[in-house]
Symmetry: C3
Subunit: 344 residues, 3 copies
Amino acid sequence: MMRTAEDLARSIGAELEGDGARPVRGLAGPEQAQADDLIYCEGERQRARAEASRAGTALVPPGLALPGKTLLRVTEPKLAFARAAAFLLEPAPAAQGIHPSAVIAPSARLGPGVSVGPFAVIEEEVEIGGGSEIGAHCFLGRGTRLGESCRLYPRVTIYAGTRLARGVVVHSGAVIGSDGFGYVRGPDRQWKFPQIGRLEIGEDVEIGANSAIDRGSLGVTLLGADVKIDNLVQIAHNVEIGEHVVIAAQTGISGSSIVGRDAMIGGQVGIGDHCTIEPGAVCGGQAGILTGKTIQSGWVVWGTPARPLEQFKKQYSWFARLPELARRVKRLEGRLGVEDKPSD
Amino acid sequence: MMRTAEDLARSIGAELEGDGARPVRGLAGPEQAQADDLIYCEGERQRARAEASRAGTALVPPGLALPGKTLLRVTEPKLAFARAAAFLLEPAPAAQGIHPSAVIAPSARLGPGVSVGPFAVIEEEVEIGGGSEIGAHCFLGRGTRLGESCRLYPRVTIYAGTRLARGVVVHSGAVIGSDGFGYVRGPDRQWKFPQIGRLEIGEDVEIGANSAIDRGSLGVTLLGADVKIDNLVQIAHNVEIGEHVVIAAQTGISGSSIVGRDAMIGGQVGIGDHCTIEPGAVCGGQAGILTGKTIQSGWVVWGTPARPLEQFKKQYSWFARLPELARRVKRLEGRLGVEDKPSD
Amino acid sequence: MMRTAEDLARSIGAELEGDGARPVRGLAGPEQAQADDLIYCEGERQRARAEASRAGTALVPPGLALPGKTLLRVTEPKLAFARAAAFLLEPAPAAQGIHPSAVIAPSARLGPGVSVGPFAVIEEEVEIGGGSEIGAHCFLGRGTRLGESCRLYPRVTIYAGTRLARGVVVHSGAVIGSDGFGYVRGPDRQWKFPQIGRLEIGEDVEIGANSAIDRGSLGVTLLGADVKIDNLVQIAHNVEIGEHVVIAAQTGISGSSIVGRDAMIGGQVGIGDHCTIEPGAVCGGQAGILTGKTIQSGWVVWGTPARPLEQFKKQYSWFARLPELARRVKRLEGRLGVEDKPSD
């Protein structure tokens, strides 16, 4: 469907300047853009690249001019660009129609417009909301329930009984609702602690490639609405993650930890079990939060064990100067005629 | 099958107090339990939750009373709970019967009662022990051998020639027996070092979702009996892991390292190549063990480079006080009239 | 096909000493080798093992003798061993012929000798170069292009539009060309930044099991020729990796970072976004490179934040002696009659 700059301005609430009839077919970076692409420019620093672009239409902040282009003026051009993407782009379907090779149990219920790719397996009592797309090679275990408009890329496994609300997107290779990791050591072997709880995933959650999200052991693992999870992330049993939380790649969250809404977790972070990340807290990449610790709202933490960034910086700056500090101590000892060998 | 509290007491060797005829159908946490569920209570701290539970039957330690419930008295209630789970729960089968869509090579030999899910691929000369379950989308490469009662969840890949003893459980997405990572740099390109060894996995090993276990390069990668591996774990070529070892999520073990029996490895630990983790040693989360190092039996290590926890704590407590220490040195310099700038 | 020591010597450019007619069928470690296997010996340290081996043929450096064996004398025995593997070993095919169960779109074009395993899905407009092998359960999204002689092990997902040059090898579970991770926070939800760029992979790249390589957001993610990537590695959107780079397991590289040719990246390394790893730099295992930082050519870096190894060693040696340093400061304070409590 053909959209114009004016259509787009109306859709995202931008102020239009210039030719509103200009067609806008796609989005691109300034260097790759064609005449009918949309670009965005956040300020003076990016202005030269935007000006040199062939793009006919640009999202710009107040006060910024780009001669010859149709301008869509907004307060947050990058946010508007993402919203424009949702308006302009039709994501390629993860599946089209119901492929005849798919194995769908008789008791499974598929809503209107559900599509299922080749070799997908849908077990008994699964329910899939209307418009959802199930990619090739997906496996939906018994009793799984998906809301409307979910999208599973090819090769996603969902263990039995897992629930996904509407609009959940799961990328290829992710394993959803797998057993948590818990054993009790007996005298001669380990006994598996029951992993019979559930996993519930809120609306509009997106889960990256090859991530693994475990079900509850006895209770429930919960991901709130609008949670965004990158690739290769591990979420253990009984974890609760609040709305809008963002978790970057290769982070692991251990059992029964709670991550409050709007928290931001960097890549390769390790969160021990029974931790609390309070709402809005930020954990820097590779941070390690020890078992049972709390990261307070308003904190940005860093390092292992994680501590507030300002504190870390002070400590670290002296770590880097330790050889110097040691020399200074030695000099003082020389002045006082004290031997520098350890006092114990 | 209907079980009573008395059946259960007999099975796990508990002392029965109260109504032995009470039916016990499942296990639950205190808050979720129904009348015919079993709960466990480890001591006074959990007593209020247990007392308030609707559960009719409870595992309790010596001396603890829960009025109105049938009590199964044991010395280790949590261990008994895990053992009760093995008695009470029939895990949902990973596959039922031999699905007609599965591609099974003529020379593959399947023991009695083996089940194979949809779209599984079983190559030539594979041998599968009786009662094993092969989930949908699994791939068993040529010559793979599985013992009895193995369970592969959907979408497990096993490279050619890998051997699994009886009772091995592998979760979805795991890749078992893949090529190790080894190249030799030539003048203009890298040449792959041969990765033609084997992988052997002992009895009752469990491997988590999306983990990767490499085959030996020339030799063998070995996982001993009762090893438990969490999600997203990496085990490199020629690694040997002793019995009962537990490895938490996202840990990586580099080539030719040896992990002794009963060792416990936390999450996100990195073990360099040619390391030795002696039997029973404990590596804390995110620890880094440098190439060739030994972690001794009895040690609990922490940090990178990993060192005994007590040592780390002392060092770290001074790290956190470095700004203070630096101020104290500066004050001493002031007293002695020494300049505080670096001495070199 | 039967090869002799003389065939092998000619193929890899070695100097033959002894019986050139001796058959060489395989490669092995000294302890596992049979009479018709090739072993290698890098020097005196390995000589006893080599001498005791049943192997009939050995790669040896100048000046080393192994009585009774046919010797292939070379300057770099391990490199020659890897080259010999390429000459002697015929890797087992990832697929044979076109399996009738594969779903191949009518517009897909397969070169001569392409093989496709059971349940593979090849979408519209895919192009596959001659001699490539597509394993069981692979998924090739619309418009994907593979060069000649690629090998996809079973269960590889390639998102639409990805390009692989000739000779690329991808191991099981890898996800290639998935969406990058980018959202822009709006007042009440997060909007996905478009992830509509491409992924291009150069010749002879090898990618390990369960790794994830994202496509560009607007631009392109690039892997140069001869890049070797281990298991469970994460490469984010718009990353550029130069030729011959080696990346060990569980490392993550964040968006828009550049890794120069010949760099070596250890395991569990975290590279922030917009970093530059200059050509030939080495990042030690678990190193953390902060957003926007540059690691210079010639550096070997270590730790988080990453710094040159020599610098780290000096700092770290004092970290380990911090309790001692603190005692020495306290002793000095005692001498001078200064209280040791913090000065602020």
